[in-house]
Point group: C2
Chain length 101, copies 2
Amino acid sequence: MLSSSRNANHAVKTHELPDENLADLLPIAKKIAIAIGAENYNILQNNGRIAHQVVDHVHFHVIPKPAATDEEGLVIGWPTKSPPQDELKALHAELLEKLQQ
Amino acid sequence: MLSSSRNANHAVKTHELPDENLADLLPIAKKIAIAIGAENYNILQNNGRIAHQVVDHVHFHVIPKPAATDEEGLVIGWPTKSPPQDELKALHAELLEKLQQ
């Protein structure tokens, strides 16, 4: 587990962290992945109790996936929806606009 | 979905990306999280087919979790083990040593 706790900034969720702190995190996750030596792994970061966040401080999990089984490593469920194309297009346009702000 | 494809560097897995490219990614994920406006969300990055990676290019998912249900957003299973304390201590020491290299 990789935590931002050594930073001066305390933040519960990722979007609350300054960019300069965020920039530091993935190079450290990379070091951890290499140290673990896992060929297959997941990097997971949870924001909010209902999104599986247990510790109220931004932190990243580097989780080795040793085998293609539900008995080890991260198991993922990802229910999908199929909204109408025009709804998707509208959402896409809305997000693009917000990203340009 | 946030991909590193606009970088000059193509990499399949996170630990293959140069630090300077990695540093760029989370500030972008933050922008996306803010644009989505989700209070609760997960950031997920998969490395390797058996670790749920479908596209062979480093990419991050920013996944809103609208409700505490298995019907929406990311659902996580995380089988844990309870190895003996001395095994954990040995692994901890080994990882620390590798991280200092």
